[in-house]
Symmetry: C2
Amino acid sequence: MSQVLRIRVVQFEVLPGRPRENVDRMLESVARAREAVRDAVVFPEMAVPGYLLGDEWERPAFLRECEACGELLREASRDIVILFGNVGLDWHKHNEDGRVRKYNACFVAAGGRFLGPEGGPYPFVIKTLMPNYREFDDSRHFFDTRKLARELGCTVESLIAPVRIGDWRVGAMLCEDGWDTDYGVSPLRILAAKGVDFLVNASASPFTFDKNHKRHRVFTAAAAAVKRPVVYVNKTGIQNNGKTVFTFDGSSCVYDGSGNVLEGPAAFEEGTLDVDLPRAGTGFFGGPVPPVRDNIATLAKALLYGTERFLRQCGADRVVVGASGGIDSAVVASLYRQILPPDQILLVNMPSRFNSGTTIGLARALAANLGCGYVEVPIEESVRLTQRQLDGVEIAWPGKKRRLGLTDTVMENVQARDRVARVLSAMAAAFGGVFTCNANKSELTVGYTTLYGDLGGYLANIADLWKGEVYALGRHLNTHVYDEAVLPEGVFTVTPSAELSAAQAVDEGKGDPLVYPYHDCLFRSWVESWNRVTPEEILEWYQSGVLEPRIGWDGRIGELFATPAEFIADLERWWNLYQGLGVAKRIQAPPVLAVKRRAFGFDHRESQMGARYTERYQALKRGQTGAGGS
Amino acid sequence: MSQVLRIRVVQFEVLPGRPRENVDRMLESVARAREAVRDAVVFPEMAVPGYLLGDEWERPAFLRECEACGELLREASRDIVILFGNVGLDWHKHNEDGRVRKYNACFVAAGGRFLGPEGGPYPFVIKTLMPNYREFDDSRHFFDTRKLARELGCTVESLIAPVRIGDWRVGAMLCEDGWDTDYGVSPLRILAAKGVDFLVNASASPFTFDKNHKRHRVFTAAAAAVKRPVVYVNKTGIQNNGKTVFTFDGSSCVYDGSGNVLEGPAAFEEGTLDVDLPRAGTGFFGGPVPPVRDNIATLAKALLYGTERFLRQCGADRVVVGASGGIDSAVVASLYRQILPPDQILLVNMPSRFNSGTTIGLARALAANLGCGYVEVPIEESVRLTQRQLDGVEIAWPGKKRRLGLTDTVMENVQARDRVARVLSAMAAAFGGVFTCNANKSELTVGYTTLYGDLGGYLANIADLWKGEVYALGRHLNTHVYDEAVLPEGVFTVTPSAELSAAQAVDEGKGDPLVYPYHDCLFRSWVESWNRVTPEEILEWYQSGVLEPRIGWDGRIGELFATPAEFIADLERWWNLYQGLGVAKRIQAPPVLAVKRRAFGFDHRESQMGARYTERYQALKRGQTGAGGS
């Protein structure tokens, strides 16, 4: 390994919280790399323990097991270099929470020994930049280089150094270390100044819409800055933090120092990438960085991957889908049909008297097209029983009595809960599987869904898609995945409706109160903008006539709302729900499969505080309407 | 204010996310302090914005409002010193997430100006120690002194300094700054070295069982170390992070430098504490630090406070309690009866054929004792309807049919969901209120509860109490709160049971599979120990004969399990549930009212990964039983 370093990049599915299983697979990879006469094998960040593990890091038994697994890799390194991510432990020190000292670490094992950075205190490389936004919680568990520098009375620069493997100097970084734009420290620049033969970025980087586009830009620049190759290795699989499930796309690759990239295994697939790194110069390999932009096909791939893995992780191989005849359940059922054979999928249509023949027909057609099991379970009798039993029920207090009445709205929710908590829950258990939550992100934002009703389910796998994206996904499934119209055309054209009352009769064109193209864009500005937008900005933009471009909507607001008062009433109606009942419902919602920035759950942390309007909003509103804020 | 500084400590209820409302109340306090000729008024940490706000900090409109509210306090400071917590903003810099620079800051306003620490870059004091354990997420949102020191190329020591108010030097700290044991930086020691006339610790410190006991110890030592008084000011109210609701007990006080304390307003109550701080010396005021230890009375107070505030924050003033005749619902109903008049509380007993006359009688007696509304809503008819409709239902696949059957276990869950998703949900809406979740921590740990069934509700207010603590709370309510047996004696003596099948017949002494005194202690070791215990440690302790003292149980394990195999089977049964289905259920559980360390939810972050056993556990088990781990 003098003039060329024969590296094997291993993109594999890391099982969170399963160090023994992961290390077994890593050892197999090492054996195969040895047979292929590679000099070094490179694994992702936290390849041994997994990365998003909640507070699993607080269990010493788990930490000891991770450490023991790392020892197995060290022992396997006698004749091959092994670079891998694991938790780095210092049992003699503690973190700032008083628990044992833990680092998010990159280990380089060679000749049966761990090699640390030149001059460093530990035989492993420490992650310096700790992401603490979105789903990331690194500084909750891991001590960082800056704190260590203070503790040791040295500089951060002295702690960040290449690892010397023979006469090669490797600049090992962990994930965020390569994304230094907003940090006061740049591991890349420190390593570049010290001189490296190549860089490795070992990542545990979840898929996010268009992340890889940005990554190509950032890492090409990094390779150009050091004029040396950058090896990027990322894991596949899924990991979750309870409320939110993330997919890891891998997409490992190697950047030469000249703007080219050698692509590795396909996204979401396991595989290896062999590259022979030159001893000097940038190397020329691969081709131009592709102008990758994610689209609905990428989303479909991530959703299918994440759903399949989560289902399997839950130990389930049968699903029940409540099939209303609308777009959401049709898309969900069609996604599952890519994952499971048709005899393991059951579609249940549960009509009450408000359900139209139109939607029942669509549910039937969908089931027939997919070849899935299908049954209609009318809920009319049980809903009437509930109404008969509870409407007018007499409550006794000492010395007085009172009758309770069920309003129309209550009866709407009774239907939704009857379908899910009574029928689907029992059907799923009887079928030996789980049932799905078909809520989309538009509904979830404003809680346009019933708790213990259609918000139930084991996983909300399209809940990171706005309604418009659900339609686009449906079209994509028909056109590019199934190559035929398995989703009946009617599910795209029928009025979106919960069909819970006569006011939501689809055959009369009545349905949801959401005007989807507009409200999708409005809600997106509240939820997904990095500096989050509130009614204050919305009203300001409306008054300045720039609302449409600011929220990325191609309609005309004047065509939806004739007057400012109408616009404001709509704005406040949805904001109140987003910040009020919507939060309460999301707290009890199923896990959301995240595919974009700011999925609900752990990525978008919320407090139940009620809706609120700033003073400036109130002033803008007074200027518009002459009335105070609500 | 030359030889004595007349300080007023203001303990008040901070409304999270409501800067305008908070500052209005603070301005009133300032006006009253001015009338009372106080020199200075001191408010808690994050008194303006609130503290646990989820990702509210990402909204620039909210930040601008907080800043504007701080300006109002600055303006009010022309003739009085005002010390308060607020978000400190630097609009010209950014945090490491790319968003605007935010500090958790203590502002000192005097003479109409903000006074920063001597030689510091900002006109406010920055929180240095950032808690990132339990429910705390400070470093997600706030830039800290250590990062700032690096950015400015100066030392941390140069950034931590007293604030000079006239000829007084005030050492202002924020909450965790005073709890420096596990940190590499001690703001206290730095301030002491520079010389201060007194210290202020402005806190946003949630109530946790026995926290104040420790706080007295830590802060008395701090006062002794600087030989000057320490003013401790904490807020009241409740704040939440979605899944978990925290109470703030206030308990503000002033420590002289001689081991004495002057206690302020009662816990959980608003009020002020006036103290005249001497210009020199430690001062001698107050009395000896009380040997405060929390007990069931303290827990009751915190639970009543948190429940009352959360109910009010939800805008609800009526509750429906599913009253089974058991201890949990009896305690919940009795807590609410302290909060609401009896005509705003409705107890609903929902018998199926498995419910005994014993428990129905207990529910009736409880309602009568409390004077609440009461109704019995039998669920037998609807459960039978479900069974008739779904048991044997025929599913059609293209070319084949299959019938589904409902097992006894499914029928148990059908009953639980019928009660909650059908009856209580509709009754609560009809009654114009919310319904409660009566789950306790023992049940929640292992998911011994039905999703969309008894795990439903707007708030789980006793879900941070182990079953044994629920019994103790029930006794306390009878003896010390009501001074009569409002909880019928039978609820303490009846076999705990879900009464969902003949196998759970209480009159035959049959019931829950949990042996509460032992399992409470076992589960506590898994959930509440700081370095969390797993089956590995449990089995090791069992084999060493030290299990009972290690988990704090006063029974004898040999009396519960005749053989190691039985012990292990029980251990694995519950661990599998805790780490398996229990996690899935908790993800969809209602908010938990936290009163201890490690309440479920945001304080105890979990990932759905399934149960797992370490290699060492497997080895211990093999040694014990000769068989491999499951």
